[in-house]
């Protein structure tokens, strides 16, 4: 086989090889859509974020409207501060409630935003005032057990 035919085949090979890498980066790893919608940022403080991870979805009525960009601890109040990146096309009212939910019993943890009736909208960098922390199932169970023990009167627990 002459040299130009080999060059052609090697060129095709390298091109489809890089095409495959690009496919994995864009279609599988979703690099493109992540960078394409810069959006604006909102902050929300929670007593407990549970299993919330970076890039967890932010949902309103089940529709993904943004992602969790960073999570840090406020060293003064010992609260977790989550920075949410919201798509520019969505706006939320000042009295929006942010809560940490789990989809299903074993599903992923996400932030739910429930818009209120206020007329002023949240802007870039604003803080969501009303938040609801993650539900820790162990605490629920222990609460339930303590209530049971108190009801039955054993152990002399005082109300």
């Amino acid at each position: 086989m002459n040299r130009s035919a080999i060059d052609l085949w090697v060129g095709i090979f390298v091109a489809i090889g890089f095409g495959a890498i690009l496919f994995m980066a864009l279609k599988v790893g979703n690099l493109l859509t992540f960078d394409r919608s810069p959006g604006y940022r909102l902050e929300a403080s929670f007593d407990n974020i549970g299993g919330l991870k970076l890039r967890a979805p932010v949902k309103t009525a089940g529709v993904v409207v943004g992602r969790v960009e960073s999570v840090r601890l406020n060293a003064k109040t010992y609260e977790a501060v989550a920075t949410l990146r919201i798509d520019n096309q969505y706006e939320f009212t000042k009295d929006t409630i942010a809560s940490i939910n789990t989809s299903g019993l074993l599903g992923e943890v996400y932030v739910a935003l429930d818009a209120g009736g206020d007329t002023t909208m949240l802007k870039d960098g604003d803080r969501i005032a009303k938040t609801q922390s993650a539900v820790v199932i162990e605490k629920l169970i222990s609460q339930f057990l303590f209530d049971k023990a108190a009801d039955s009167g054993g152990g002399g627990a005082k109300k």
Binding site: I6, M24, N30
Partner: protein, 271 residues
């Protein structure tokens, strides 16, 4: 009687010692060989068509086996994964299972193993036969450095081809997983791609897969050219060297994969 036993034990110990020093000296020779290849690479790159020719032999001619294997591995992964995920009602997560297993592990490792048996063995046999028929010695007589003319192009051809082949393997595997998952089993296409995109990150998942395949490329290519260069110049020597290439490369790929996985994915996933 007792002197027989002692000399027998000494014989066994001498054998063990000889094997250890032999393998250590081979390892040292292989390391010096790698340095020599890199040292002669600029000289080899001046005739870039030699390397392009080797990319053709190592990469383009391996395409069919890589693509077919990737497709079938992805399809089987999809079928088996669905059977298990269905028990937990998590069959919508099939996309992420297929993509993560392929991009992180199966793509680089399977492509590396196939590459070692398809291209590595051929490189060893070719160089070994060149040595047996004294072509390498003839080149030295003509003041042509066989390292720059023969060895380095084959080494770089393998190093360049390997990550591309691994990426193609993963991409075709994901496509095969899609074929079985969506049209055959009937998982929602949006859930398949959406879960995959939510669960696979470009960093660390995709980039670590590429780094792995690059390391495998260096290891397999080095073993292939080294075994060929080091082969005994007989018909039997070439056949032993070819076998050694496949065995050593496969072991090297699996061992390196474990080591790299420990460093790459241990505790690096979460925040």
């Amino acid at each position: 009687m007792s002197s027989d036993v002692i000399s027998g034990i000494a014989h066994v110990l001498r054998r063990i010692g000889g094997a250890v020093t032999g393998s250590i000296s081979r390892l040292g020779f292989a390391s010096r060989f790698l340095v020599a290849i890199v040292w002669h690479s600029p000289q080899a790159f001046r005739r870039i068509h030699l390397t392009v020719h080797e990319i053709y032999f190592a990469g383009v001619l391996s395409l069919v086996i890589i693509l077919m294997s990737g497709l079938f591995v992805g399809m089987v992964l999809s079928l088996q994964g669905y059977e298990t995920l269905k028990r937990y009602g998590a069959d919508e997560q099939l996309g992420i299972l297929v993509a993560l297993s392929l991009v992180r592990e199966l793509g680089p490792v399977m492509a590396g193993l196939l590459f070692a048996s398809r291209a590595g063995s051929a490189i060893t046999a070719e160089i070994g036969l060149m040595k047996t028929t004294e072509q390498l010695a003839a080149m030295e007589m003509m003041a042509v450095d066989p390292l720059a003319r023969v060895i380095a192009p084959r080494f770089w051809g393998g190093v360049i081809s390997m990550p591309l082949l691994a990426a193609l393997f993963s991409a075709f595997g994901i496509f095969g997983g899609y074929l079985v998952g969506v049209p055959l089993i009937g998982i929602d296409a949006g859930a398949f791609w959406g879960q995959m995109q939510a669960g696979v990150d470009v960093w660390p998942d995709v980039t670590n897969g590429i780094i792995k395949s690059l390391v495998f490329g260096v290891a397999v290519s080095l073993i292939a050219v080294f075994e060929g260069y080091d082969a005994k110049p007989t018909a039997e020597g070439v056949s032993i060297a070819t076998t050694r290439t496949v065995v050593m490369s496969s072991l090297a790929i699996l061992a390196l994969d474990f080591v790299m996985t420990v460093f790459m994915f241990r505790g690096g996933g979460g925040l």
